[in-house]
Point group: C2
Chain length 345, copies 2
DNA sequence: CTGAAAGCGCTTACAG
DNA sequence: CTGAAAGCGCTTACAG
């Protein structure tokens, strides 16, 4: 059905080898033959066959991305950064989206199939048990995005530091009863954010009790990174006699759910309750949400660069890229005491 | 580097043909040889080479999705429906994301490359000029998602009807000065939503003047489907002496931007201004947004089914699937007169 | 039930 | 600068 290299060779009166050469921009071809080949190819509407090419070249120009919960806004943004970066390359992107963290394993397996792609980007999944082995002997390099493991390249945000920044912000204000809206305990990033918050808070001399945090169920949709989780968690907090006066959510999406719960309770943000999120989704700006920004776009584009680098130079030492989150102050918080702050964003 | 069919044939003491047979679940293989082959393959960690396989079979088990602006929430949801459906199939998904509608053309071209995929899903892009030809003679079938063209299978929402429903809702209330927040004029879906609204509104005897609609600029990010556009459009409306008392946005995301603008102006939703969106994104429920729901998940899964159907039976007549949007009433609107409503959601 | 062989559409030394 | 030929890793009639 398709027209091949043979068709154009015949019609141009040359061998298939020279046809191949012109399509691979090899130098040793005379200008005239190059031109006729190109013309004939154009006439016939020739397109190289992707599979044949990668089989012969013993390499493929596609990469795989294994992503849990693709409709998550954070991933969507990172993906956008990735795609923007890829649009100027010749690589294609194969996307494997896992409904839950459980499904990541088999999908990774699939993505690692020989000849399918040249490398894989594994998003936000903890590397556990046999996965490490599977990844090492898979033949293609994998780089971790929003995750960490000493044996693989990774790119992530300093979640602990983000938690610390949130705590510092709260400690420097007049907040008395902060609470934390945490995602699933299985989520490494969320755990680190909580931990950064907790340790910094305690370091100030105040006590951080377990009832100050609402943890999403392990089976929660999107690992607890959802409005629903933020909403219901906040509802619970609001039932207390002593209502919280500030909440740190481990993601913007949870913070948005919390905002809604607060409003429904007839309370005001930030007057009654201040809210801090994590991510800085595009919508957060318009919602006036104070948050810890992750450079999602950069994470995506860097991930691509790292993977390509690794594909081309497999023996480079493993590298970990960590971005620092930055506090973006907006309307959901107010700063009472403005000491210790050199720059306001 | 990789271990091939030859390795396992040798080690199992059989020919490569029989090895191939067991991996293709062909019937004519004795139980014993099947078992030894499988065992040896397991030992050696054999994986079939994807490219070689599709070259030999003359078919590939991957499909392509060409999507403008992948970080758009609507697409993310449709993609999720698609992926959920695909997870039980053996197909892989190649994603081509276009930063703008301009980039769709070249990406589609790329996606149509021979041997790359068995079919393509083209999202939300108007089929214009030469695209039709390119798509017809591309060799692989394409189905349109959230778009329409008589010559290709398509799956979409009845946007006009959604606009009509929004207008009817408003007409049955005490709203006096409704306005519309429209996305880019280049967007077919947005145009249809507006048109449905306009015609129904006028049919009631009221006049619909051009200054009742705020149209996003052609160069607006995400074709105007963004909080930023809803926000700025609403800001303009609020500068008027006679402020609107209801707004119909052509997407939820614009509606969310509008909500923020209203709040910042010190006005209340729905008391001062009622808001209706379009899509019913997951977050809309938690924001209490009244909207016209599109079954995004179903759109995604149906799209997959349609494409596979078309791949398998290329000569089936072209089919168009149209989903009816449904009005979901929530807190951003209030119904004064409750006549003509059998079921409240 | 099993094997030898041709073929899928390209790339790439090797000669010339 | 160009061609003949082998090879990439699999599938699939065709014989047996």
């Amino acid at each position: 059905m398709g027209i091949t290299i043979y068709d154009i060779a015949e019609r141009a009166g040359v061998s298939i080898a020279t046809v191949s050469r012109v399509f691979n921009a090899k130098p040793r071809v005379s200008k005239e033959t190059r031109e006729t080949v190109l013309r004939v190819a154009e006439e016939l509407g020739y397109q190289p066959h992707a599979s044949a090419r990668s089989l012969a070249r013993r390499q493929t120009e596609t990469i795989s991305a294994v992503i849990p919960m693709i409709s998550n806004n954070f991933f969507a943004e990172v993906l956008k950064g990735l795609q923007d970066r890829m649009s100027t390359s010749t690589y294609d992107l194969l996307v494997f989206s896992a409904p839950t963290l459980e499904d990541v394993r088999p999908l990774l397996e699939k993505a690692m199939h020989r000849g399918r792609s040249a490398g894989v980007l594994l998003f936000s999944a903890p590397v556990q048990n046999g996965m490490e082995v599977q990844m090492s002997k898979g033949g293609q390099p994998v780089v971790l995005v929003d995750s960490y493991h000493h044996a693989f390249d990774s790119i992530s945000t300093d979640n602990r530091r983000g938690g610390t920044a949130a705590a510092e912000f709260i400690l420097s204000s007049d907040v008395q009863r902060p609470v934390v809206l945490m995602a699933s305990p299985d989520s490494i990033p969320a755990s680190q954010r909580l931990e950064g918050f907790r340790s910094t808070y305690e370091a100030s001399g105040r006590t951080f009790s377990p009832d100050m945090v609402s943890v999403a169920s392990r089976s929660a949709e999107f690992d607890g990174f959802s409005e629903a989780c933020g909403y219901s968690g906040m509802k619970e907090f609001l039932k207390r006699d002593e209502k919280p006066d500030a909440v740190f959510a481990t993601s913007d999406i949870q913070a948005i759910g919390a905002m809604q719960a607060v409003r429904e309770a007839g309370l005001n943000v930030p007057e009654d309750i201040q809210i801090i999120g994590f991510d800085d989704l595009p919508m957060s700006r318009h919602l006036g949400l104070t948050t810890l920004r992750q450079p999602m776009h950069d994470i995506g584009s860097r991930a691509f660069d790292l993977l390509i680098e690794r594909i081309q130079r497999p023996d480079t030492p493993v590298a970990h890229t960590v971005f620092a989150p930055s506090l973006i102050e907006r309307q959901t918080t107010r700063r009472e005491t403005v000491h210790n702050l050199e720059t306001a964003s």
